[in-house]
Symmetry: C2
Subunit: 132 residues, 2 copies
């Protein structure tokens, strides 16, 4: 019975199959949260760097090119979602990413970007508007 607000399905079987294959709401939300965390240039740079070696707030600010405050806000965001860990060393606090899945996500996205670039005439998304 694939119906919602009066809309009736064109291929009801396909809709029911998709509904059956769908992930539980809460689980999908956590996955989306993960992607969202990676979907910001500042956070992505932070995470990518931290998958290679630990860095403190100050050095992340220099590396990424934004204020220490901005870095700190983003680190709290990432800490709350367990994407980074921190360890204190005297007065400075070092952040790390010890979850290998984060590095894997970068690698897969990298492959995707290459894949898209290869199939196409020109760079970015070969000039946005695209049919077919």
């Amino acid at each position: 019975m694939a119906k919602v607000e009066g809309l009736s399905a064109i291929d009801a079987g396909a809709v029911e199959a998709a509904q059956a294959a769908a992930l539980p709401e809460e689980h999908m939300q956590l996955i989306v949260d993960t992607f969202q965390a990676l979907g910001d240039l500042t956070r992505a740079r932070i995470l990518f760097a931290l998958t290679k070696h630990p860095l403190c707030v100050r050095d992340l600010a220099i590396l990424v090119g934004v204020s220490e405050s901005a870095i700190s806000h983003q680190l709290r965001f990432l800490r709350d979602r367990r994407l980074v860990r921190s360890r204190r060393e005297g007065n400075t606090i070092f952040y790390t990413v010890d979850d290998q899945h984060v590095a894997m996500l970068f690698k897969e996205a990298d492959h995707h970007v290459d894949h898209v670039r290869r199939g196409l005439p020109d760079h970015p998304y070969s000039g946005l508007p695209h049919k077919d």
Copy 2:
């Protein structure tokens, strides 16, 4: 020479190593764009379903539970970034995801979520605010 706006590095060597390992701005931006596309519940549901079988706009609207217009807007977004393709069949248009990297990204994010959940006392992010 790791300096930016008067800030001097705490561990200059680490900053320079990170700078050397960093991805080119434009490339990282495309990776971020990919994550951003996946970092929305509506788009994630669309993409996840389409990695399994083609669906038309109407059926996606029913499946995801939003208006056909909203689906259409998101499909344009995804089409422009080459994350979905469309093929016309009479009056209805079927969308697909033929890039296996998209499915891999979901799988990796899924693993990450499991990893986070396992290491922790309670569910979501065990109640956001978190140190260490």
